[in-house]
């Protein structure tokens, strides 16, 4: 059937009852904002600890969130019986990254929690009915399978710290468990603000306001503890929905950064907001839908147009002559990790890093192809039949659509995108090439977020955080693990916390703000607003930043907030959600500009360039910065980047975990919080 006209200004009747005038109040011990991977694990663990729990999501919890559509591999599962890496050994990877911010494993706290709880979290998912093993024995006898446990390993078959999993089943399993435990699920409900005790910014967080994105109904949630588990801010430099046809790697439009904006408005501290690019995005192809040998496709044979195989090498450039060697550590190396920017110690095999030059001088002929037929049956099946069918946005968009179109992994070479030679460098090119100024990235996992301590508590009492909400981010496994941890900590706090008391004046002010766009019949629509905000970010918070341009950018954003955004118009609850997200992205843009102004030095590690401070990573700026709102002022604070092992914390993660996780012996509990120490500037 043809698409309906969406350009008509009148349109048909809204298909849901419209209830802008209805307000529902409810009270819970723990309120979880965001029902993705982290939020579900948080809600489940808080409920298991006896808390009355609710979880809110703009989408539908059964499939919402960045990991909702599946996951193919599970990081940091060092607790599995086939792995002899200790959590301490694994978490050392953080020390090899500048600023302790890894690509996939979070910071020192996130990474250690993952190393301790990753495999246990998988067993938990298995108890909920999700598969984590090759119970069908499809891979019996394969090099990457353990015959005793039937676990399947990814990447490093010696280290065995990463598992191939049936992650398509994870989110529905979590959803069933939430229902079984009696967690109240609010699908299609967007949180709009955090409620502060007495309505005072910076005070204890006692719940949230929210709006239903189908009916427009308003909610007031009082909660003893709140867990923020929303997505990281994305699509801030390029939003245009029409351009997404040119960029299948566009991000979920829901990922506005709601949690960051709400925490900021409530007076919470944000960290690493200046680490906001550049990342490849835009103009690319369907994720894992073209020929490559990265991540889900690791370590696929790649051939050129004449059938010549692209060589693989180890970390020392030694030519690997068998496929098996692509899954083994180098001589003398205990294990390797898979991910970007790894230190030599953890670096694994790769396609020849000089491939760009060899293409440029004609040694290899474009296009390149993924050569699945040239692989052993079990390796081919593990990539196309297992991982592609389990990874998010791949089961239907790639496995199903490609299969129905006649792509046969046993016979066909899947073409890689045709790109400039330098694009075939060490950086994974599983989705093709992007334009430089298009900074957005899907699966950007290491950007800014809320600052947090060893309790996964934010700088605000009563407010916890998990997953990519945490500054420094987390991948799927780390999101699940930090979700569990934050759920336990929130429930623990709620057990002794006083009743949440909300301020009516704060609620009324928020209602006026929320409904303004539906209470007028004329004004700018959300799409033009998004495009305008993105232009401000491109121009004033782009690849190169400076005092002048950042200050001008803040003026632009302020002008849009007081002008076009204040006069915006929404014609239904869905448009209201998108319009509210404009406010979120505007706020997040401001926090990025404030954080960028605070860091008066360029940094290679943060991908951060100040034209007025061109020196890269001067030693006096080797520190973490936080920003927070204090009335009209913005306060910044310096912290050691490894604040997690500085006073008042113990020097080792094992001690801090034992003291804070609620799982240790409880001895030596350290009072206070490093998130509340340090020099304020």
């Amino acid at each position: 059937m043809p698409p309906v006209s969406t350009t008509s200004s009148t349109g048909s009747a809204w298909p849901y009852p419209v209830r802008y005038d209805r307000e529902t109040e409810a009270e819970f011990d723990v309120l979880v904002v965001g029902g993705g991977v982290a939020g579900c694990h948080a809600a489940i663990n808080a409920a298991r600890d006896g808390a009355r729990v609710a979880v809110l999501d703009k989408g539908a919890v059964i499939r919402s969130g960045s990991g909702g559509a599946g996951v193919d591999h599970w990081h940091g599962a060092v607790g599995n019986p086939c792995c002899d890496i200790t959590p301490e050994e694994f978490a050392r990877v953080v020390d090899t990254y500048p600023y302790g911010i890894t690509n996939e494993y979070g910071n020192g706290i996130t990474c250690y929690i993952m190393a301790r709880e990753s495999y246990e979290t998988l067993l938990d998912l298995e108890s909920m009915g999700a598969r984590i093993r090759d119970t069908g024995d499809e891979f019996a006898g394969s090099e990457f399978r353990d015959e005793g446990t039937k676990l399947l390993f990814a990447y490093d078959y010696t280290g065995r710290h990463t598992l191939r999993v049936f992650g398509w089943e994870f989110k529905p399993a979590l959803h069933r468990e939430l229902k079984r435990l009696g967690v109240t699920i609010f699908d299609r409900v967007m949180a709009t603000s955090l409620l502060s005790e007495g309505g005072e910014r910076g005070a204890r967080v006692v719940g949230a306001t929210a709006v239903n994105v189908r009916t427009g109904e308003f909610y007031v949630f009082r909660a003893k503890a709140t867990v923020l588990a929303t997505a990281q801010p994305l699509r801030l430099w390029v939003f245009s929905t029409e351009l997404q046809g040119f960029a299948a790697i566009h991000d979920d439009p829901n990922c506005a950064g709601d949690g960051c904006a709400m925490a900021w408005d409530a007076g919470g501290e944000l960290a690493l907001m200046e680490k906001s690019g550049p990342h490849p995005g835009g103009f690319r192809y369907t994720a894992y839908g073209s020929g490559n040998s990265h991540n889900t496709w690791y370590a696929c044979n790649v051939v050129d147009a004449t059938g010549k195989e692209i060589p693989w090498v180890d970390r020392d450039g030694r030519l690997l002559t068998s496929h098996a060697e692509r899954h083994r550590p180098a001589p003398g190396q205990k294990y390797f990790l898979y991910g970007g920017r790894l230190a030599y110690e953890f670096r694994g095999p790769s396609l020849a890093p000089d491939l760009p030059e060899r293409i440029a001088r004609g040694e290899f002929t474009l296009p390149l192809y993924a050569d699945l037929p040239g692989m052993a049956e079990d390796e081919r099946r593990a990539i196309f039949g297992l991982m592609l069918a389990q990874e998010g946005k791949c089961r239907i968009p790639v496995y199903d659509v490609y299969s129905q179109a006649g792509f046969d992994p046993d016979k066909d070479l899947l073409q890689a995108p045709v790109m400039a030679p330098d694009a075939y460098g060490p950086r994974p090119w599983w989705a093709g090439q992007s334009a430089r100024q298009w900074r957005e990235s899907a699966f950007l996992v290491d950007g800014g977020g809320v600052h947090f301590d060893w309790d996964l508590r934010t700088s605000l009492e009563g407010l916890y955080a998990a997953g990519v909400q945490l500054a420094g981010g987390a991948d799927h496994s780390a999101s699940a693990c930090t979700g569990r941890y934050a759920g336990r900590k929130a429930a623990e706090y709620a057990r002794t916390a006083r009743a949440p008391s909300v301020a009516r004046a704060q609620i009324d002010k928020e209602k006026t703000r929320v409904y303004a766009p539906v209470n007028r019949s004329e004004g700018m629509g959300w799409k033009e607003l998004q495009a305008g905000l993105c232009r401000v970010m491109q121009d004033y918070c782009g690849e190169y930043r400076s005092e002048n341009t950042l200050r001008l950018g803040l003026e632009w954003l302020d002008g849009i907030r007081r002008g076009e955004l204040a006069g915006a118009c929404a014609r239904n609850p869905h448009e209201l959600m998108r319009t509210l997200e404009c406010g979120v992205r505007l706020t997040v843009g401001e926090t990025m500009m404030h954080a960028s102004l605070a860091r008066r030095a360029s940094s290679e590690a943060l991908g951060f360039k100040r034209i007025d401070y061109p020196e890269m990573d001067p030693p006096e700026w080797d520190k973490l910065l936080t920003v927070r709102r204090d009335g009209p002022a913005v306060r910044t604070r310096d912290l050691p980047w490894d604040y997690w092992r500085q006073a008042p914390y113990a020097g080792s993660s094992a001690e801090n975990y034992a003291a804070h996780s609620g799982r240790g012996d409880g001895a030596g509990r350290v009072a206070g919080s490093a998130a509340r120490t340090g020099a304020e500037g």
């Binding site: 946005k393 239907i396 659509v401």
Partner: protein, 120 residues
């Protein structure tokens, strides 16, 4: 003679999801699972859900996976997202969306498709 109409330009992309009205049972499972709420529920008997916001589609395919009626809904990559492949033995070129496609590859994924809401 063909007709002519004055109409606004459609959004691009706008064919992210295609329904087969004969197979759709109007259960609205696709509407309920969509994270971006791009679909409006079936307006009435015999009418599939309506793709209201095609340009907000994330192309995750969950609507297809949760559909209990095989073939009632399918997702389609925009033309500029369609990729090609080559048969190794023969050198024949194929692509997504081609007019005369090769026979479908019918092997289910490891562990099978599973029931709707669990598999395809």
């Amino acid at each position: 003679m063909a007709d002519a109409h004055l109409v606004n330009n459609p959004l691009t992309p706008n064919r992210a999801i295609q329904f087969d009205a004969d197979l759709c049972t109007q259960c609205n499972a696709c509407v309920e699972v969509c994270r971006c709420d791009v679909l409006a529920p079936s307006p009435g008997p015999g009418e599939p859900p309506v793709l209201v916001y095609p340009d907000e589609c994330w192309f995750c395919g969950c609507c297809v996976a949760h559909c209990p009626s095989p073939g009632a809904i399918r997702m389609e990559h925009p033309l500029c997202q369609q990729v090609g492949w080559k048969r190794k033995e023969t050198g024949e070129q194929f692509r997504l969306g081609m007019a005369d496609p090769p026979p479908a590859y019918v092997r289910p994924p490891v562990g099978g498709w599973g029931p709707p809401s669990k598999g395809r």
